[in-house]
């Protein structure tokens, strides 16, 4: 993955006589594990404290009726999960998240691939185009969201000004139940596009040039033929991988909701992570929030395991 920091140690090896090496080996046998424990101890302890124990705690808390700050606490089994799935707000939130993901993933993949193909097609200004399309991915989303709000402002926003000049219908995009989710998804596409593009660019670079030569010999000389017979089939595994990674990022949508809509209007933009945030930290329904967290974890872990499967498949291709 990374270039190896190569520097040969052969000089040192020949300079040492055999008995001396054996002696250090014997010392190593005792000192190596001790040194290893000392080096790994802080990290290992913190990993247990901040990752392993908390994730166990989430499952335990999810089976209680605990409210943060409350004094009573009792075991309620699966009741929180039943409540979660019976709750109309959670169902709405789950459905909205699925709709959001189903818009963001194909939009991001399609545009990211298109831009990557255009950039890779010719050498001029490659770095420049790559940089400007990548910018939204690293810019602070909380700040970008405020800029988007201004673009979408009902009266002074550039979007409505441009739409009315072109005779297109205008709207109060973030305050209308029908438009709010697609518009938030559009911001999601805008933010993740450059990320997908960079991953596709890496995938395009990895296609061996002789495949194109072979396609040439077989008579596939137009750009469309080359795209159809070589580029897209070779990008298959990369595409699967990008789909999963972007889907995970889309499921984790939070910043734009928290800043622009707070789940509204009504519950039209309520999404999983925002529901989790509200239940756990605003309403302080700790047990219920933990149950929502477990559902969220289930989705992310499933997607990550799919990603690992895809990565392993990729090894066979390369």
């Amino acid at each position: 993955m990374m270039p190896s920091a190569a520097m040969s140690g052969h000089g040192a090896q020949t300079a040492t006589s055999k008995p001396a090496r054996l002696k250090t080996r014997v010392v190593d046998r005792f000192s190596e594990p001790i040194a290893a424990y000392l080096l790994a101890l802080p990290g290992g302890a913190l990993l247990a404290l901040l990752f392993i124990l908390p994730v166990i705690a989430v499952f335990v808390i999810a089976t209680t009726n605990w409210s943060f700050g409350g004094t009573s606490l009792s075991f309620v089994g699966m009741r929180n999960f039943r409540d979660v799935f019976a709750d109309s707000t959670f169902r709405m939130s789950f459905l909205n998240t699925i709709v959001y993901v189903l818009i963001v993933v194909p939009g991001t993949i399609g545009l990211g691939l298109l831009i990557a193909l255009l950039i890779e097609a010719r050498p001029s200004l490659r770095g420049f185009y790559r940089a400007i399309h990548f910018l939204p991915f690293m810019a602070t989303l909380a700040a970008s969201a405020v800029a988007w709000e201004m673009l979408l402002h009902p009266t002074m926003g550039l979007v409505n000004q441009a739409f009315s000049a072109l005779g297109l219908p205008t709207a109060n995009w973030l305050r209308d139940e029908k438009t709010v989710l697609p518009v938030l998804a559009l911001i999601g596409i805008w933010q993740n596009l450059g990320f997908a593009m960079v991953l596709f660019l890496a995938g395009l670079k990895a296609i061996p040039a002789d495949l194109y030569e072979a396609a040439d010999i077989d008579g596939a000389d137009g750009w469309f033929d080359r795209l159809r017979t070589v580029t897209l089939p070779m990008l298959g595994p990369v595409t699967m991988f990008v789909v999963v990674v972007v889907a995970i990022r889309a499921f984790e949508v939070f910043d734009t909701i928290a800043i622009l809509t707070q789940g509204g209007p009504g519950r039209a933009s309520e999404v999983l992570l925002y529901t989790l945030y509200r239940e756990s930290f605003e309403y302080l329904r700790t047990g219920y929030g933990a149950a929502v967290t477990v559902v969220f974890l289930g989705i992310i872990v499933t997607l990550t395991l799919v990603q690992v499967g895809v990565m392993e498949k990729r090894v066979h291709y390369s």
Binding site: M2, A5, G9, L135, M150, M156, A258, S280, T293
Partner: protein, 278 residues
Amino acid sequence: MRIGQAFHPSAIGRHAALLMTGALTLAPFIWMISLSAKSPDEMFDPGFSLLPRHWHAWENYAEALTAAPLLRFLLNGAIVCFSILALQLLICVPMAYAAAKLRFFGRNALFGAVLLGLLLPHQVLALPVFILCHKLHILNSYAALILPFIVSPFGIFLFRQFFRTIPDDILHAARLDGLSEFSIVWRIVVPMSVPAMIAFSIFSVVAHWNDLFWPSIVIKTTELMPPSLGVAAFRGIESGNDYGPLMAGTVLVVLPLLVAFALAQRWFIEGLTSAALK
């Protein structure tokens, strides 16, 4: 020949398409900068112009820096991000070295824990870690922003992969020279792993500078807010239709990362995509 290529219809088409998608991509940033220089009256003028007729940038930026403590937000961001990064390196590098190069009982279990950690998004850990911070009496402090992130499974994983490529002979030679394992980590291994260090540092700083979720859980005091939460709060208090100072604030929050990106584009792209390729 070269000129002929440059004016080929498909070359022009490529530039036209990429300039258009590029302009759409940059539109929010351009709009942000444009509004940050306009007066409230001018913002609501019908008709589109990017440049203000009357420059109001000085007033807007001055108000952003005084009315909302923007400088304080930026300073908080810098303190938190660099504390997190320093502690992450201090804790993850030795652990990754032990996992990559030393033999000891429990190594596989430890690495299993790292892989499990990689699987867990931090939003899932927020609830128990919030309770932990409450028990430690550090809610609403820098410590609450820093502590949960000082060990990074991704950092350990990335460094371990990199350290494995370092030849064992070099380490043996260093041991024969009398260096302790601790010195080997910091004096031999780290200087040989600069690319991994830079990639991880960029990943970490960008992630924590931009994070809104965790700060909005643990921070209530305006003076302690990092940039993204500060912008959210600033937007909340900004009343009426005077968006100029707010837009100036967003420009100031986005600017440090954009400048760094312009200076080290390649490193940024590598650092930020390395997490996906783990």
